[in-house]
């Protein structure tokens, strides 16, 4: 009986999960071995041709590089900021709740709204950034329109959006640290920096690793802002893998190639998931 009940209870969720997660994942993989069908020429098996095209596609390599720089630009800085925020908010600070709220607020905003707000800072001439630059006598600059600055603009905005989210994980971890440690250090006369470097930071390592993996996964999924700010431009300078998949599928209508790109994305997410899983296992082991 328990078999029947168990499966009966699971069935509604299982049908939807299979339909929108497992089936499409397998179908994507299959699709990547076929050509994109057209009215005159139906889709046919092409083996690894799509992957060969991918290897020869300069835009693919560029979005991959961009993803790498985007991750490298956003993750270390937002983690460092998150840790700093958590230490501050965890300490004796007047109006602590208000400060914590200020740090966390960007997390609850949709990326689209964030992009709308930040677009103004980056607009040439009337934007805030140009106004500040003008005060120092610098000329107008097209921040989002120039390949040299566009990535930096997106990185700054993403750090603002994400640091407060990572802060709450550090905050929770800090609150589990025994206060005796700090007292002992004070009696021994250890400086705060020394205490942080030798005690707090090592004890927070599991949290740091955890946040690191989550942030990496996020950096591959976060593309909403591109729709408002740059559309991947100028000349793909700010294009990211998931946005490129969207473009290939829904602007260029090359479904097979989009599937091939999706396989690469799934592969990467898979690697991160394995790393994440191992971290969780290890953490359980420590306890």
């Amino acid at each position: 009986m328990r078999h029947v009940y168990g499966w009966l209870l699971l069935t509604p969720a299982a049908i939807l999960l299979v339909a929108f997660t497992h089936y499409p994942a397998v179908a994507t993989l299959a699709e990547s071995f076929f050509s994109t069908g057209t009215a005159v020429r139906p889709s046919r098996f092409v083996g690894l041709d799509n992957y060969a095209a991918l290897a020869a596609d300069p835009v693919f390599w560029q979005v991959l590089r961009n993803n790498f720089w985007f991750a490298l630009g956003t993750i270390p800085t937002s983690i460092a900021l998150a840790l700093l925020m958590a230490l501050w908010v965890n300490g004796r600070l007047p109006a602590r709740a208000l400060v914590r709220m200020a740090y966390f607020t960007p997390t609850v905003l949709p990326m689209i709204a964030v992009a709308n707000l930040w677009l103004y800072f980056y607009t040439p001439q009337i934007g805030l950034l140009d106004k500040v630059a003008a005060m120092f006598g610098a000329g107008s600059h097209n921040w989002l329109g120039s390949p040299d600055t566009v990535m930096g603009c997106l990185i700054a905005m993403t750090i603002w959006k994400e640091a407060g989210f990572f802060m709450i994980f550090y905050l929770a971890a800090l609150q589990t640290l025994p206060p005796e440690l700090g007292e002992a250090a004070r009696i021994e006369g250890a400086s705060r920096w020394y205490f942080f470097r030798r005690v707090t930071f090592p004890l927070l390592m599991p949290t740091t690793l955890f946040v690191l993996v989550n942030a990496t996964i996020n950096s591959f999924k976060l593309v909403d802002h591109l729709f408002i700010l740059t559309k991947g431009g100028p000349d793909n300078a700010s294009n990211l893998l998931l946005y490129y998949i969207y473009q290939v599928a829904f602007s260029f209508f090359d479904v097979a190639y989009a599937a091939t790109l999706t396989v690469i994305l799934l592969f990467m997410l898979g690697i991160f998931a394995v790393v994440q899983f191992q971290l969780i296992e290890r953490r359980v082991h420590y306890r």
């Binding site: 009940y5 209870l9 929108f20 497992h22 699709e31 689209i112 103004y120 408002i228």
Partner: protein
């Protein structure tokens, strides 16, 4: 904490709030004052009025509310049933099934946009609110979270209810669901925030005003080529985020705790 550090913490807080504060400034003042910070500038609600008129905001609001409610209601039912099965029934293939469920934590529906769009087209659900919500209704995160909670509930409670003549579903409804209330609340907050803010999949699967949620409406409205001026965009953006922002300001602690649970999984 030194004095300098306190000041730094405060300055960072102000810096962090400033984009939002600036949007408030622009939204409540005439466009002429959008970029000049004159404390005596006249206040106005004209920007909100204009934004409300430029884009079909009432319709987008309605769509988002329908979407969020529908997804949450379906998630609560489906995830409760599945989580109960995983927590309390030792059925054949349970561990494999659970591993397959967890796979969704990694492969979110928005990564599989191409195939999912095709599925929606086959089902005739393109450009419907149901089409936006359907891929999210069976949520691995919800199943996982509820399973964890259900497992902590002592078996004795369940056995007592069984002795009293409760059916399996009765036990679930009268024992498990009430005891898991905090988990439901945390999950609901995360789900509502997620779907209120979600963009890529709704953008792909909708193509008319009647189905587009707020985020998609906002993207069209705020795009530079729409030619709407800055003050009006700020007003529109604030309107779209207001419900969630107000809820957050009222229930900060609850929000932060829920988001944390969602992150840790």
């Amino acid at each position: 904490m030194t004095h300098a550090e306190r000041v730094a913490a405060w300055l960072l807080a102000i810096l962090w709030l400033s984009p939002l504060l600036y949007a408030f400034w622009a939204a409540f003042h005439p466009p002429a004052f959008a970029t000049t910070f004159d404390p005596l500038a006249p206040l106005t609600l004209a920007n909100f009025e204009k934004a409300w008129g430029y884009a079909p905001f009432p319709r987008h609001f309605l769509n988002t509310v329908i979407l969020v409610t529908m997804v949450l209601a379906a998630q609560l039912v489906l995830c409760t049933l599945a989580a109960f099965a995983f927590a309390r029934f030792d059925f054949a293939g349970r561990d494999v099934a659970f591993a397959l469920v967890l796979l969704q934590l990694m492969i979110m529906p928005e990564v599989l946009i191409v195939e999912n769009y095709r599925t929606m087209a086959r089902l005739g659900l393109v450009d419907t609110i149901l089409g936006i919500g359907l891929p999210y209704m069976a949520s691995a995160f919800g199943i996982f979270l509820l399973r964890q909670t259900f497992k902590t509930i002592p078996r004795e409670l369940e056995e007592a209810a069984r002795v009293e003549g409760c059916s399996w579903l009765g036990v679930l409804w009268r024992v498990y669901v009430p005891l898991a209330r905090p988990t439901y609340l945390a999950y609901a907050l995360v789900s509502v925030s997620y779907h209120w803010n979600n963009f890529l999949w709704p953008l792909i699967v909708t193509n008319s005003v009647n189905t587009r949620p707020l985020t998609v409406g906002l993207a069209i409205f705020g795009a530079p080529e729409s030619g709407v001026d800055w003050s009006v965009i700020s007003a529109g953006t604030l309107m779209a985020v207001a419900p969630l922002l107000v809820a957050f300001l009222l229930f900060q602690r609850q929000f932060m705790q829920s988001f944390m649970q969602a992150g840790i999984k």
